[in-house]
Symmetry: D2
Subunit: 343 residues, 4 copies
């Protein structure tokens, strides 16, 4: 019963098969191979636009490289204070941007709200040399608390950011989970809603380690390639990253499996919500459930082998916990967990 994270699970058989298929023969290295070119075409089709795409092997690398391309050392990135880039990357954005600042804001359900952003920006004077200059806004989709921005919410934030001369980044480590919820096209969820650059994640939804940084305006990519190389993220045998993305994007498996994870989370939330003393903390819109569990229940679950994270210290006899479902979480684990919680 592992609900610690979607990255606790392995990889799709189809992705493993794609790696095996790509393993023989000699091809150009560093991304000059046919598979990497194919990925670009696939993503152009998927997003229905021209784009520049750069495969990397970790979400932290994707986010930090994307932001460093948009934001100079004297710049700043507006994000939520729960954002992965702010909390869980040990300062990677600061490293890659050579010291730009994250402006971390509050906001319900780990979502930025336009008025909060507007208020925050009022503190930074444009062109005033003593202040860092906000140059990008970054949102996570789905968020770190399992919620999802609607296309309209995204659009409102993007419009605000663009009005301030900022670019908009989406950390899509769980983009598939968000898209399932949104029920719109990838284009509608991103560039049509004003997103300039997307960290398109595949790892959490079943790749070994494969993410694509996608610039919807290729001219924004600037010196991304040099930054990627300099950071040790230009993989020599790039075919193996591209093979993962190719299998990932074949058909609609990526959405079916993310949808399955979302449904499991939904079922988990429904079941837990019915237990006395349990409170579901945030709308369950993707594949993560945040629940206040009475400490006795939490302890009982762990005693029976459930693995999950506390999301903060205990408060008054209960603790906020996070339970994440993945493409590969066994259905019976959800049932077992609910049974254990019930008693």
């Amino acid at each position: 019963m592992n609900f610690a994270s979607d990255n606790a699970y392995g990889a799709w058989p189809e992705i493993v098969a794609a790696i095996a298929a790509a393993a023989s023969g000699a091809v150009p290295s560093y991304g000059d191979d046919a598979l990497t070119q194919k990925i670009r075409n696939r993503l152009c089709d998927l997003f229905a636009c021209d784009l520049a795409v750069f495969p990397v092997i970790s979400g932290t690398a994707a986010n930090a490289l994307a932001l460093a391309t948009l934001v100079p050392p004297h710049g700043a990135v507006v994000c939520h204070r729960e954002a992965h880039i702010a909390v869980d990357e040990c300062g990677a954005p600061e490293f890659f941007t050579h010291g730009a600042k994250l402006i971390a804001l509050e906001g319900e359900g780990a979502k930025l709200a336009p008025d909060g952003v507007e208020r925050a920006l009022a503190h930074f004077q444009k062109g005033f040399v003593h202040h860092v200059q906000p140059m990008a806004l970054s949102i996570t989709q789905s968020t770190e608390l399992g919620t999802v921005y609607t296309a309209d919410e995204t659009k409102a934030l993007s419009a605000l950011a663009h009005a301030h001369g900022m670019k908009v980044h989406m950390d899509g480590a769980r983009f598939a989970n968000a898209l399932c919820r949104m029920g719109c096209t990838p284009a509608e969820a991103t560039w049509q809603a004003g997103i300039d650059v997307l960290s398109f994640g595949a790892t959490k939804n079943g790749a070994l380690g494969a993410e694509a940084v996608i610039f919807f305006h290729p001219e924004d990519a600037g010196d991304f390639e040099y930054r990627r190389k300099k950071a040790g993220h230009l993989i020599s045998k790039m075919r193996f990253v591209s093979a993962q993305l190719d299998a990932y994007l074949t058909g609609d498996r990526w959405l079916v499996r993310a949808g399955r994870a979302n449904a499991l989370a939904r079922r988990l939330a429904d079941g837990l919500g019915r237990i006395a003393g349990v409170e579901i903390a945030y709308p369950v819109e993707a594949n993560a459930v945040f629940a206040w569990l009475p400490d006795a229940i939490a302890a009982g679950l762990r005693a029976k082998g459930a693995v999950f994270y506390d999301w903060g210290p205990p408060q008054g006899g209960r603790t906020l916990v996070r339970l994440v479902a993945s493409f590969a979480t066994p259905e019976e684990d959800v049932d077992r967990l609910l049974a254990a919680a019930n008693g």
Copy 2:
């Protein structure tokens, strides 16, 4: 006939199988899994010593993270001017060290020589605040020109570096190829010869993307883990990197296959060396051949489909080229290339 680089070839079937075997089930992420622990034990056994080991996915990351751990921003790294870290990493060591300097020296066959190092160090005054402070010496084994340091040569350089208070790093992207040539134990080739930290490469010899940074004195590892995370190189599904290394180190396949590559390079050199006008430029001690080819021969080879790099501009009707053999280079490609060159 692809002799461009050993990284133009794919991956061992055993490594692909190991990835497949590791693909199911839930395990702790970020390296807290059993496979990653197993790798550490394997390497302790292999090198016959205690050590700290950190898997990463690229050689550039391995080198740059290792050097950044040893060398502060006001420090310097002594290396050969042909060194991969100096020439082919787009300044990754400078990025990871936050601006330390590489002191790039001449030296026969891409090998540093103690007297050259001694002369260079004389220019840097210890504790003199205007000068960067040399803190590490880095050698490549096998070198960028296909030569190999003997254990005694390594020892002499290490002793000199240590006498100056410097640590010693070995870029072992082709460590297997070097070890085959040396005919000694991994321990003799490294820590017993004074190496403090090794970038142990598996990618070029048949992994998808797997290298291990090995500190022979675990206390030297310092804040490596934070640096790795901050650089986006702490892979969430670490099991897949460790699985590669595990398969790589099972039995002596890694040496057998590196030895095969060396033998192919040897055969290539012998064959080319017999052709009028061709000159083998450096001792062929690992899996790379550097040869001066008359321009007509080089053009003829390429017309027949041979792929290889020029190593500098043409000079007086001939060009220095590099031909690299790998674990998977077909033997008949060597024969075909020689036939084409002869004809």
Copy 3:
């Protein structure tokens, strides 16, 4: 009527005279001169302890160099969200630390409070590689809102920081103004209250550009000298910085003049506070007055030539403004401003 900042005023005649006296003859450069040595002795006497001291020419340099010496790139600095280092240095601490993070907290009157710090630290897990590691706490004395920490308040914060393994930095750009208020010895205000490193400012109180970074535990100074050099802050003709500090510290002029500035601020606050519709926003404990002025009054003051900063946008017909008095602010300017405000 310039109340924009204390740095709008020039320099003491005694400091100019000291520069003139130091201008002739040849002396060792880069701080190996007798005057620089004398400064060290003066400060040892003043603070009644051994210390390491490094003169620099700007407060931003002093703060950023001090913090970079204490905090690695994966570290973090706890400070108030109004702190100069957080707001007004364009990210200098991030630049000098190579990307460490500032954890900016709320707190009454721009002062950190132990419970707020404790709560913030709870979010950062010690040794957890995904989180930046808080390594220093920085307080400003006097604060950016013109308040002053008592020695006991300082002590409580230091004790908390030390208990978490953090060092404590004091941004003393207005240390003289704070000390006048505290009525204690420099030692009591700093190292005896747990301060590890102090940016001792002289510029705002009458030097041309002279600050001293003081490490109360000389072993903490680490590689400060290399950092200072590498940042272009090791002045060749250091005698001229030291001459300023020497004149500054001769007798008790530095305290008398800071006390005068404080008294003017006090008088300003008393006068303004009596005007209908004006509200003094924070306790006036040093040389700055923060007042809510009805917009008509503010406009009237400016029309009559008063210079001062708004501290945020207008709110409901009034605006928070900052008025700073300096060592050289003419007394009659205070009278004229009050007359104008009444008027």
Copy 4:
């Protein structure tokens, strides 16, 4: 008899007087004062062109900020291997550029030669992501070995650099000394010879600490202002830096005094050159003399109180030494040194 460096001497009385004159009253800080504006106008007149100018307080800051504005982290700077930026700034250019590389070349008399530059550039493939990209060429005028580029030599290097898409920087820490030698206008020595940005030094020729970074194409200045602020080099009381530059540039004192230093160096060289066993190592074209002194003579000079630097270790009974004359070196010190050398 101090010939250690021109920065061992103090400051002109006129500069001290200018500081005294600037010391009273309130003016805008951070460079928005009238004196700083006046400097800009003075320099426009002097160089007979439009320009962007930024005063700073050290030559290292001037050079490193200028280069960081021209060169991204994946870029490189071509310079001489004796260049101050390469040898004596503890890696400041690498710090400010966030890790760009210096490509340090040989060249007679510390001067770069076009063919050497051309050869070096051939090693860097344009747009090849594995290689750092040369983006600037930096020359020192006068050089670290006391020689001076002619305007034609400068022009040839600039043309070559521009043809490769690189900008050209001149480290003019001793620009006045060079100009005296060249006998041309400031414009002819700089932008008319292809210089894009100049570190215009005043410190070594008699300021306390004042340099001006001059961009001859103001659009090249880019984000210089943010970089300067972030580095702690935006001085609050900028009037005091500008006052130095204003006095420095009044009339032709700056050239008269640099010319005096050059003449003293000339006299020193002539005198030493006549002594048996002494060899003048490089053409004495500015204010520094490099001479091979028999060790007995060097020891004798030091015994009699002469101060100067060795420029490398002794070789066969003699040592290369550097003797620098300044605006304030007493003439009799030259006579006394020659007398002492003659025995």
